[in-house]
């Protein structure tokens, strides 16, 4: 129902759904791309902390995933 795609004209990732579009900033897009059904929360945090050479992302990622879940952008298994 929701489609995540890169928009060349806007130079950003967007989520598309019936009659709407959400423009994503880079960190939101990075988190959503990790939600591929194969990783759990701990793995997503770990992967992103490694990718961006940082720590302490758990709270930010958890808060964003709650928003994403509430909006139906991701589904919980």
């Amino acid at each position: 129902m929701h489609r995540l795609q890169w928009e060349e004209a806007q130079q950003k990732d967007v989520i598309l759904y019936p009659e709407g579009m959400v423009e994503l900033n880079q960190s939101s897009a990075e988190i959503l791309k990790c939600c591929d059904g194969t990783r759990n929360l701990a793995q997503i945090v770990n992967d992103l902390e490694q990718k961006f050479a940082t720590t302490g992302l758990t709270n930010d990622i958890t808060a964003f995933l709650e928003v994403a879940l509430k909006n139906g952008w991701i589904q919980q298994n």
């Binding site: 489609r3 060349e8 004209a9 967007v14 019936p18 579009m21």
Partner: protein
Amino acid sequence: MAGSNKTNPTTALRTGITPPRWLLAELTYACPLQCPYCSNPIDYAKYQSELDTEDWKRVLTQARKMGAVQLGFSGGEPLTRKDLPELVKHARDLGYYSNLITSGYGLTEEKIVQLKEAGLDHIQVSIQASSQELNDHIAGTASFQHKKEVAHLVKKHGYPMVLCVVIHRENIHQMPEILAMAEELGADYLELANTQYYGWAHANRDLLLPTKEQFEQAEQIAQAFKEKVAGKMKIYYVVPDFYEDRPKACMNGWGTTFLTIAPDGVALPCHSARELPGLDCPNVKDYSIEQIWNESKAFNFFRGFDWMKEPCSSCDEKEKDFGGCRCQAYLLSGDMYAADPVCSKSPNHPVIQEAIDSAKATALADNEKPLIFRNSKNSRLLS
């Protein structure tokens, strides 16, 4: 939709012009239904020619390159176009998120599967009322049972199902039943579109405009339902602007976001703009979408704020609502530069109350005049 002010890196845009995001492709004015509030122009019957498949593909390609991403295949009834699957496939290849806006009439399971394979993202089915009798009366065609079957098939084949019900005086009392029907059909999105009074709806306004009490009651019921189904079904509520005291931010601002292409190829900043005088709306057979969006007289006509008169030009809300709707200003005051009469600051605002009173008087009269149904015969009679 959140607009973007970023400069488009792939296509040259004139300073201050944002690229199109939404493309409404009105493939045809042909339609088996005769809804008396149809958004097609009253004089649609005189526009007989239709763009061919290659024209539409070129339009889709050019608009996509500029940044259009949401695409509505509309009409009339878009299913009457034989090349619909081919156009859907082209749109998917280009990366559009495409929506089929249909009455459901003529939609079979085979076609639903075929369109899915072509890459259609969702289907919006319109239903005119919650009962067969009223649906078939308003639609001017026996279609209720088939529409419900179509809604089930849309769900069955994994599309998000958007149910659209246009609300007016004839069906507003059915609000509880309409909501129950949406739930029963498993709608993911429900669009409750209070009639916007242009074109056919303007001609039938005395018979369609509900009273303020009816609106408020229906809105309350819809609001309670929205809370009940939160997380399961999303409700789009198109506000009845005759009962607001500020106008809608029509089209998110003229020539900022929306691009409509009419069946004969005329490009419009909104689907009603054809009714405005002197715009010289360009045709996609003569110009590219980029030329039309950036350079045409029509698309620049009401861009920005320089065209405004008082009370809009000095209004501190002008960047919020852009002076409201140009077509409504023209229809109700005869002046397309005037403030939308819906606005309580407009000197023409009393015409709104007059319209409400006139509709109420008609409702109370013993011998109601009949609805004017949208068909070619009436189109020719009225234009």
